[in-house]
Amino acid sequence: MFIQLLFGLSALLTVGCAIAVAVTKNIMHSCVFLLGSLLGIAGLYATLGADFVAVTQIMVYVGGVVILMLFAVMLTGGKDFVSRAQNLLGLAPAMGNKWTFSVGLLVGLVVILTNVKLIMNIAKAYPAKVIGNDFPSTVSQIGHLLVKEHVLAFELSSVLLLGALVGAAIIARPRKQG
């Protein structure tokens, strides 16, 4: 029952916040809604028994990515900018308007149409099966997987992170005058 409750709440949070991300004009709010959406996903992970992933999700996104986003927004002013470049139709859209949303939705619709069929097929292939509410601890298993089967990816991701760290520091470093 808790699980179902958690699932419902999380799904609601996820989807609602995600849509809010899309429709909110204020980018700062968008970020905060993203935060909500990510927390919701963490909840969904929890319902799937992925405790480690869920907590990692919170840790990385809430503690890191979203704050970074907020920083970026703040450092870039958080205002709307009007592009000097014109689009195809000679319009100079602001940071999103009904036209762009229409296009986006249209594309989204295309994707939905393609995926609906896919999901239906999947639903047929994997009929809903009832799975118990026992959630074995995943931490040690993930640990073993990371250093055994997926050790290469693990190491590569560490290199990637290091690279990202250094790269970000170099790119965002204020240039010396002259």
Partner: protein, 372 residues
Amino acid sequence: MNQTIVSYLSQYEFYDSLLCLFGNNEGLLAFVIYLLVALIIIGFSATVGGLGTYAERKISADLQARMGPNRVGPYGLLQFLADGVKMLTKEDIMPFTADKFLFYLAPMLALVGVFATLAVLPWSNGFMMADLNVGIFYLIAISSLVGVSVFLGGYASNSKWSMLGGMRGASQIISYEIPVTLSILAITLLAGGMSFGTILSHQEGTIINWFIFHNPFAFLAFFIYAIGALAETNRAPFDLPEAESELVSGYHTEYTGLRFGFFALAEYIEVFVVCGVGAALFLGGGNLPFNIQIDIIPLQLVQVVIFITKALLLYYVVIWVRWTLPRLRVDQLMSICWKYLTPMAILNLVGCAIWLVVFNGKSMADLVFGSH
């Protein structure tokens, strides 16, 4: 397995009778138990937080040879209630140019973030809301919401002081999360798990079994943790986000009334939480100094008392530090974190791992007194 308060209580006979009371609806019973315990914990924590303000003032007064609050209640003990009432009754002012949504949201987030951590705090072996497999990890993760709230609060106020305070706070919290996490990771390495239950069970026994005395690296890790935790909770000497001499009051400059109270409360409770975590991770938590096989509720209560005592002792140290050390500069703050604490924490982690390999997981005490 995830041990929870419910599963813990279910081993006692009175649980069955309670179950009968709720018409054998386990879910409902669990819900009620969770609710009750949560209310107790929140109430307690709020009290601790409130008393924290009192303690702060009293101890500072003591350190400065003053009297401190002494009018409301015996020794001024009820001062915090008076303050609380005052806050509740104050006008809730919102700046005109503020971002209303975020302005509301920020204190909430702070409180949510702090209260969420209470769910895994190990009051005793049994009395834990939930002993998650990823308990300590969860605690670290969810407490980073406080950082977001600090930032949002600073931003939403649309005031320069707030903005600067928020940015400082966010960067400080993110930065210091790293050494703190790394030093905690060393402990999880020693314990072999991230759940508080596991961690505590490894520290059963006397003082020599505490993780702080497990090996030199763990000893060092405790201090890294302590320093990092101070910074994470924006306590002096790391209270740059609310440095009153520079930023009036930092990120909550524009907040008044209840919302300010939220922030204040969140801060004090968070201090308590980090002290509690420190106690649980390094100082043996609520473990009794002797090994008792029987498991009865009063014993658990003794454990709770021990745990709270340890946490409050640390709390005292935190306040003591505040009134002892001067505030750092921003660059000093960052260089301490990135140039000293982080490398040390990494070395500690590696050192712990090497220790484990070399001494086959034995602690210093084991090596000295022989394994038991």
